[in-house]
């Protein structure tokens, strides 16, 4: 885990497939798009828009409501912790599905560890309720505007956020037929 997951640079137009249609429709619906979207990456047949957190809610509203976009289903919302991405350690990933147009795109929002705030999208996609609570629980991302941001998996008084990279996995060495096997996070790493 010492390697930095390199994020590819912005892809060049044309992206191919429906990604160009989505980008054009988004530019028409949200004139501020060049400022709001830091990077657009097409990789392995999927489009990822890296969105500034200040613009997330307005952009999400357009993505849901505009007739050429209509991403009415938020399939998945989860976090990823990149401790080496200094100043943008916490990422929140939104997988959007448009049932109307049968399309999928991904939004990614970053926040620094020192200020782990991301606007909540519960008002736009109510399904984000549990998923934002889980992301708070596991990564410590504070979703501003969430109606009741409490822990969901771990007990209410649990210290720390278990899926962050600086949170140890835990485990004890196990003895088997005289040999000792260390816990998984202390075993040999292969770069």
């Amino acid at each position: 885990m010492s390697d930095e997951p390199e994020l590819p640079p912005s892809s060049a137009r044309p992206y191919g497939g429906y990604f160009d249609d989505v980008s054009d429709a988004l530019a028409a619906a949200y004139p501020n798009v060049s400022q709001a979207v830091e990077r657009s990456i097409v990789d392995r047949g999927e489009l990822t828009l890296h969105v500034r957190r200040e613009n997330l809610r307005d952009l999400a509203q357009q993505l849901r409501d505009d007739q050429d976009l209509r991403f009415e289903l938020l399939s998945s919302l989860s976090g990823v912790h990149y401790p080496m991405d200094v100043g943008r350690e916490l990422h929140v990933v939104y997988e959007l599905t448009s049932m109307t147009h049968n399309r999928r795109i991904r939004l990614e929002v970053a926040a620094p560890d020192a200020d782990p705030h991301v606007p909540s999208v519960v008002a736009i996609w109510p399904t984000a309720d549990f998923q934002e609570r889980e992301t708070w629980d596991m990564f410590g991302v504070v979703f501003d505007g969430h109606p009741a941001l409490t822990r969901i998996m771990m007990p209410d008084d649990w210290p720390g956020h278990p899926q962050r990279k600086d949170y140890p996995l835990g485990g004890i060495p196990v003895e088997y037929k005289g040999a000792t096997i260390p816990p998984p996070d202390e075993r040999r790493q292969y770069a």
Binding site: D3, P5, P8, D43, S75, T127
Partner: protein
């Protein structure tokens, strides 16, 4: 209250009086609560309750027998599967994710393996035979999962005999799984690149026997339940959720189709060659528990139909990708001490081929490297959209695995389907959401 049960205590708290109900004393408690003070009663149902499918805790605020508010507490089965995957190589990850949703393990395995393949860029190189076997196993698994829902759902609303029939056929499917994968659940059968081993002799015949029996058995369930007045009264018009509510709450699968939207990822975004099968997407329009029952019953028929097509599509061939740097070294055979690598294979790597031995050793200890990037792979599980979000940093272990579990997301609909209904209907409605807590909590 005149109880002498030492465990059925009463204590006053700042939130009001708290009763511990142990069974048989409900009348006393209710009488006391009503005469004393409370016009509202907060009942804690679960986490250990026979009708909550595992350990789901419902907190119900009651006005008489009407539920005015429903909240749920989950997390009792949280086992850290996602975190654990980050410390194991990609192949080992299969054995973790299969333990999430224990009623549909083959779906989680397949979604995870497909995500790894997408990251590796080998989606199109997975052999046809492996794809057909995956589809066949998934559809059999869909039937067995729906059968558990039918059996336990029946139990929960008093139709005890439904379970006897449903579990009879489920057992038959589990026998097939045991024959093919070695295990009745937690199979770890689908692996990145294909499946771990080919179908054993006799498996095709056994499956063919099953697909001949099953349609008649579905008729039996219909005879037993569909026209039954009590069954209809418990389900019809109960637990209503329309298309708008489903989409807003992220509810997919049979619940969404019962509300009238024919959204099925097998049709709309086909994977594993689903575009080559002929099947219908059953829908209903009433969006109540009865509609969900009918949709699932019809889905079982369609799954039987797909399994039959799979049997016809099976052609001899490899079941794992060619690339020896990815394909797990498994030429399995049954020995005197159980299943293991075949003696021929061991002889080959130990005695004749140094290169094979190195490959074997590197793959088993290190695993294979996956180029950096992220993918999301959604598939249609028995409960709705099951998605795997996988991030790689270029190493031999996933950087992040996230399971978008339909049980977890669909449970958000509990307040919407339960509030305003009778407490007895809560059980029928939660059952119709078909949550599996192992998947929900992961």
């Amino acid at each position: 209250m005149t109880t002498t049960d030492p465990y059925a205590g009463v204590r006053d708290t700042t939130e009001g009086r708290v009763y511990t109900v142990t069974g048989g004393d409900w009348d006393d408690v209710a009488a006391d609560a009503v005469t004393e003070h409370a016009e509202r009663l907060v009942v804690n149902m679960g986490p250990q309750h026979p009708s909550t499918h595992g350990v789901l805790r419902l907190i119900l605020e009651l006005d008489g027998e009407t539920v005015t508010q429903a909240r749920l507490a989950i997390g009792y089965l949280h086992t850290g599967i996602e975190k654990n995957c980050e410390y194991r190589n990609y192949t080992q990850g299969v054995t973790f994710v299969t333990r999430a949703d224990y009623l549909s393990p083959l779906f989680t395995e397949s979604a995870y393996s497909m995500a790894v393949e997408k990251l590796l860029g080998i989606t199109d190189e997975v052999p046809v035979r492996a794809q057909v076997i995956r589809v066949m196993m998934m559809e059999l698994n869909r039937i067995s999962s729906h059968l558990v829902w039918l059996g336990t759902g029946g139990l929960e609303i008093g139709a005890l005999s439904a379970m006897l029939y449903a579990f009879r056929e489920r057992e038959q499917i589990l026998d097939i799984f045991e024959m093919i994968t070695g295990l009745r659940m937690n199979h770890a059968y689908v692996r990145p690149g294909g499946v771990i081993q080919d179908l054993p002799p006799g498996a095709v015949e056994k499956i063919r026997e099953f697909v001949q029996i099953m349609p008649k058995r579905i008729d039996q369930y219909h005879d037993l339940l569909t026209g039954q007045p009590i069954w209809i009264k418990r389900l019809e018009g109960v637990g209503f959720l329309d298309v708008n509510a489903c989409v807003a709450l992220g509810v997919t699968g049979p619940l969404l189709r019962a509300a009238g939207l024919p959204w099925d990822l097998r049709k709309s975004q086909p994977y594993s060659g689903y575009e080559g099968y002929e099947f219908d997407v059953p829908t209903q329009t009433t969006g109540d528990n009865f509609a969900r029952y009918l949709v699932r019953m019809d889905e079982m028929r369609e799954s039987v139909n797909i399994v039959e097509q799979c049997l016809d599509k099976l052609r001899p061939g490899p079941v794992m990708v060619d690339d020896k740097k990815i394909a797990w070294p498994a030429q399995l055979a049954l020995g005197a001490d159980g299943m293991g690598n075949s003696l021929d294979h061991i002889r080959h790597i130990m005695a004749t081929s140094m290169e094979s031995l190195i490959h074997h050793f590197k793959l088993v200890t290190e695993g294979f490297h996956v180029p950096p990037g992220q993918v999301y792979q959604p598939i249609e599980s028995p409960r709705g959209q099951l998605g795997v979000h996988l991030v790689s940093d270029g190493g031999t272990k996933p950087y992040r695995v996230h399971l978008r579990e339909p049980s977890f997301v669909n449970l958000q609909a509990v307040p919407a389907v339960c509030e305003g209904s009778l407490i007895a209907d809560v059980i029928a409605s939660v059952a119709s959401l078909d949550p599996v807590m192992g998947g929900c909590d992961r």
